[in-house]
Amino acid sequence: MNTKSTVEIITEWDIVAARQLGRNEAKEIGFGAVDQARITTAISELARNIYLYARAGEVAIERISEGGRVGIRITAADKGPGINNIKKVMEDGYSTSGGLGAGLPGVKRLMDTMDIQSSIEKGTIIIIEKWV
């Protein structure tokens, strides 16, 4: 059952749909209550960034497995303006919410791995994974 489910992010309520999808999948994969909350929070942050900065995009959620381990992979992709300075946005205290801990550095902390590809005017793809 390695299907990929995708939610398009166009309105703010789509963020909620992405969260819901992520939580269901995380629960099914076998994540505990705390990790479910963490994964959902990470999805929420990425979806919100798409909504705020790229206007539109999508969040895809899939189950992953490797050598007996299972986990979840979330791919947030958009064709928005791209992130200017990835190194900078990954620094603590940089996000506009200023020291509320969330934002992209927070997403990285909530998950096991995070990969950002972004090019100016072309868009952004962020892939995050977490293992049970």
Binding site: G32, T41, D92, G99, L100, G101, L110
Partner: protein, 325 residues
Amino acid sequence: MQYQKIVSDFLSNQTERNLYIGQNFIRQLIQKKVAPEEVINIHKYAMEQLYPDLPEYISHSYDFLIEIMVHFGLTLKEHQSLLEQQEELRMEMNVATKIQNMILRTKIPQLKDIDIGMVSIPIRKMNGDYVHFLGDKSHVSVAVTDVVGKGVPAALCMSMVKYGLDTLECSTNAPSHILEVLNRIIEKSVDDSMFVSMFYGTYNVENGKFTYGSAGHEPALYYNSGKETFFDLESKGLLLGVMPEVKYPQYEIQLQDNDFIVMITDGATDFRKQGELDPRDVIKNIALSCRHLPAQEMCEKMYAYLKKLPDFDLEDDFTVVIFKK
């Protein structure tokens, strides 16, 4: 599970003792870097174990708290990582300060013909004032500098001044030349917001002449023992680093026995008027009262006295250098 027991003890008996035990337990969790959302989960689990028919809405309320606490957890993690970064910076800063202090270490020349004293007190770890001595058989020169600006940029600028002076050492001692070259160096390489004031003087051991020039620095005080009067060693010259190609005039005085020159940075005069007296007069009076002492002791007396004044500005670096014939 330990937590379950602690909660259960408290629920059956709400004593201060049980609360205290709870706090000690939390302290352990914090040490193990357990996130706040995890703690709620531990609590939820304990409650569900203790009360198998715990109402659903209680369980849900814990789920809600977990969700919310994820953000507190992130804030906490960010805080911790910022603290680690700060500690790293602090350590780097300490090393830099040590290097800086080593680079800028000044040794007061000991000479037969002229008695030299100096006190330079930094307000922070890095001194914004700098005194540079150089000399050969026939001359001893001094540069008293004050970098306008604080912290690391000022410290870097200071090192540049020092290397500039070191390089110039072997050429000429003429103050106007030295100030001109330093101005060019600083103007070219330093940020626009950074300026340096400098008093530069050179004493000719053979004929007792003192030649000086100044770049926007507090005028030195010259005591003529024959006339029993102080004179300001004034010299017009722009701060170093403001404009390229500035000319600095130089002047010369003849020192007689018991004459002395007091060179200061504005940290020494940055206090409000003492009644009728202005700060420079206060310094003159102290100098006069201890002019029989060796130059070094005069400097120390002066600092000890000024430091005690109620209006003395402890927020600025303090430097005084005395040349005494």
